[in-house]
């Protein structure tokens, strides 16, 4: 397949997923679009190095992540999480809380969570992309889900006596 056609197919198949990933990394819509455009430009230049079409999705996710770490992260401070909370238990409030608690997760936890939920990647695939061990990914995913769910169910302030037994590494 000619390079242009191959690239077009990748753009149409995956760019929306990469935008969502970039958005949750940057928390900025124009910034996310810019980041994805830059990442795809890099992907275009390196397209000849992509040998396995099956690996295209994770290859592109890695490029977006690298571009974020290389360029964006040093330029843009993370938004302050000193946000005030609205005061009832409605659906709208729950949606807002999910966004807020997701943003408040440490980046080490947020990244694998995003790759799992948005990318549908397994622990092994995420470990390859983040260049850490599978056990580390499992621990980070466990803690990310636990923190998020505890916060959303209002259990964050309660003690978790058995948490030690859940440690994976």
């Amino acid at each position: 397949m000619p390079a242009n056609e191959r690239f077009n197919a990748l753009v149409h198949a995956w760019s929306a997923d990469h935008y969502r990933f970039a958005y949750w990394l940057t928390r900025d819509r124009p910034g996310a679009e810019d980041l994805v455009q830059e990442a795809y430009l890099r992907a275009w230049r390196a397209l000849a190095t992509l040998r396995d079409e099956q690996a295209a999705k994770s290859w592109l996710f890695s490029i977006v992540r690298n571009e974020y770490r290389r360029r964006w992260k040093s330029l843009k401070p993370a938004p302050s999480d000193a946000m005030e909370e609205p005061a009832d238990g409605s659906d709208a409030l729950q949606d807002w809380l999910v966004r807020r608690h997701l943003q408040a997760l440490p980046e080490d936890y947020r990244e694998p969570l995003l790759l799992q939920v948005l990318g549908g990647f397994s622990c092994e695939e995420i470990a390859d992309m983040l260049e850490v061990s599978c056990a580390t990914v499992m621990t980070r995913l466990f803690r990310a889900h636990l923190k998020l769910r505890a916060a959303l169910t209002g259990a964050a302030s309660r003690p978790a006596p058995r948490e030690k037994r859940h440690e994976l590494s």
Binding site: D91, Q94, D95, V98, M138, R149
Partner: protein, 225 residues
């Protein structure tokens, strides 16, 4: 698999289909209920993460690629860049709105999907958004197409889209963002106003020619301190 293993496995990967995992969920009522409750949270997380991508994203990426390909012709590219930079500088000098007004327009620009909603918003959703933020509004004064809570300047605010005479009208209710007098908003082909509202402010922005003042009077938005 015991209950602790089950919960640990779930929290590593909520979507897993391991047979032992499924068997435990079927035979342990407590973990079965845990799975259902966590499944609802998981669904909410997926829904929240699924922000819409800009419709023009793919086209813009391909345009950038074409632009990069044409780098073999540097004089033409240089001329294009000079014209683009000059146009950008001119545009920013001539239309840059003041801070909060600019952020209101930027927020509308950043969430264009709400402007295209055609269905009426559920009255319960609107009521819950207003209640959550301590806002009073004459809700029957306009047809509401969208109601949600957004972060604006790191504070939660209400984002409403109403049906106006000339198209969608965005209302951003900003508790904690005080303004002392009515200020006009112009930009992006839109017009509106930023209004004092007790301990906060309200932005009402519609298409050019929209009857903003009439909406201001009808909505009677109040932010409780």
């Amino acid at each position: 698999m015991n209950c602790l293993d089950f919960r640990r496995a779930f929290l590593v990967d909520p979507t897993q289909h391991d047979p032992d995992f499924r068997t435990h969920a079927e035979h342990c009522p407590v973990c079965g209920e845990f799975l259902r409750a966590q499944g609802r949270l998981d669904e909410r997380l997926r829904r929240t993460l699924a922000v819409p991508a800009p419709e023009t994203l793919a086209a813009r990426i391909l345009l950038r690629r074409s632009f990069a390909q044409r780098l073999r012709h540097p004089p033409a590219i240089a001329a294009t860049v000079i014209v683009a930079v000059a146009a950008g500088v001119f545009a920013s000098l001539s239309t840059q709105p003041p801070a909060l007004e600019g952020e209101v327009l930027a927020h509308i620009r950043a969430e264009p999907e709400h402007l295209h909603t055609r269905q009426a918003e559920a009255p319960d959703k609107l009521a819950s958004v207003l209640r959550a933020l301590g806002v009073g509004m004459e809700a029957t004064a306009a047809k509401v197409r969208y109601a949600g809570i957004c972060d604006i300047r790191n504070r939660p605010g209400a984002h409403l889209v109403l049906e106006g005479k000339r198209g969608p009208v965005t209302v951003l209710i900003l508790p904690g963002e005080t303004v002392h007098e009515r200020r006009s908003i112009h930009g992006d082909g839109r017009q509106g106003a930023l209004l004092p509202a007790g301990p906060g402010s309200v932005a009402i922005v519609g298409e050019t020619g929209e009857a903003i003042e009439a909406l201001e009077r009808r909505l009677q938005i109040r932010i409780r301190g």
